[in-house]
């Protein structure tokens, strides 16, 4: 792991510790980790990253353009930076005695998890630009992603944007004015395209 992974999250745990816990199949049971939303969000992201890393190593050994050297470090940095609870996104309730919020970290983790489920994509950074704590304020969403070697960007771009719009509409009351997706990296090799050599 990198030094970056030793920097504690807001709750005090580090990605190193969470990675070790994951590698031990979450045994022995850690009551902090298992009841901390930030840790659980980080575990989900780390599990996906570990799975992808194993695939990359496996493909690397067989036939490969190597993954960019700093690829893992970049993704880890995004996970660590964005796993914190962050700002509070308000949810309207007719009774003023009810105060409902969704944490920014919960929504970022949701986008990361759902985006990673799209074959060929790994979500990097995810940021909300605008006053998300002010109901109705215009919010721009910027998402960075890594795309699998050989996969056409156009094939993945539209499904990812639509997914993000749908998630934000379903799970927040943000006034999303735009979703901007940037491909920031390329990773691995897609076996489905083994006969194709990207130009």
């Amino acid at each position: 792991m990198t030094n970056l992974a030793s920097i504690p999250l807001e709750c005090g745990k580090t990605l190193d510790e969470l990675s070790d816990y994951l590698a031990a199949d979450r045994i022995p049971y850690d009551p902090h980790v298992e009841t901390c939303p930030d840790c659980l969000n980080a575990l989900t992201a780390l599990a996906r990253l570990a799975e992808l890393s194993r695939d990359l190593i496996s493909h690397d050994a067989e036939q490969l353009p190597p993954a960019p050297e700093n690829w893992l470090r970049t993704i880890l940095a995004s996970i660590r930076d964005e796993i914190r609870a962050g700002r509070s996104l308000p949810i309207h309730h007719a009774d003023p005695r009810a105060r409902i919020t969704v944490t920014e970290g919960a929504v970022r983790a949701l986008i990361r998890s759902a985006g990673d489920d799209i074959d060929g994509l790994v979500i990097g950074k995810c940021e909300f630009v605008g006053d998300v704590e002010q109901p109705g304020a215009a919010v721009e969403v910027n998402v960075g992603a890594s795309i699998a070697w050989g996969r056409p960007f156009a094939e993945l771009y539209t499904p990812l944007r639509e997914l993000i719009y749908d998630l934000l509409h379903r799970h927040t009351e943000l006034n999303v004015t735009s979703v901007n997706v940037t491909i920031e990296d390329i990773h691995g090799f897609d076996p489905a395209l083994s006969g194709h050599v990207p130009s």
């Binding site: 009551p31 902090h32 309730h93 409902i100 919020t101 944490t103 949701l110 799970h171």
Partner: protein, 109 residues
């Protein structure tokens, strides 16, 4: 489920059970950061009681007002705002007057 009918009468355990029963609620988290609850965490570790003692809805008097705090995780297959409002409605039914209900969604999975 059997719960006390009177306002402000429900215990933390009752409220927790009520929240867990709401469609779309996947998890309940400790209302305060775990770092602020070290004695409880240590106690849970020693007793081996695990998460049950840590995760719960909390009702307390704060500044003379009954305040209920719930920190939840929601199921991504169900609308989070609807789920959270449903939880808030149930909690509001169990407090009187100018009591306050705080619902924080900390995870959507």
């Amino acid at each position: 489920m059997s719960l006390p009918d009177g306002p402000d009468a429900a215990s933390d355990e009752d409220l927790t059970a009520l929240v867990y029963a709401v469609e779309g609620v996947a998890e309940i988290f400790p209302p305060a950061p775990v770092a602020a609850r070290i004695p409880t965490v240590v106690s849970a570790l020693i007793s081996g009681s695990g998460a049950e003692r840590l995760v719960r809805v909390e009702a307390a008097d704060e500044g003379g007002r009954r305040t209920v705090r719930a920190r939840i995780g929601t199921d991504r297959g169900v609308s989070t705002p609807d789920t959270a409002r449903h939880v808030a409605d149930l909690m509001l039914e169990r407090i009187t007057g100018d009591g306050i209900v705080h619902i924080q969604v900390a995870r959507i999975s």
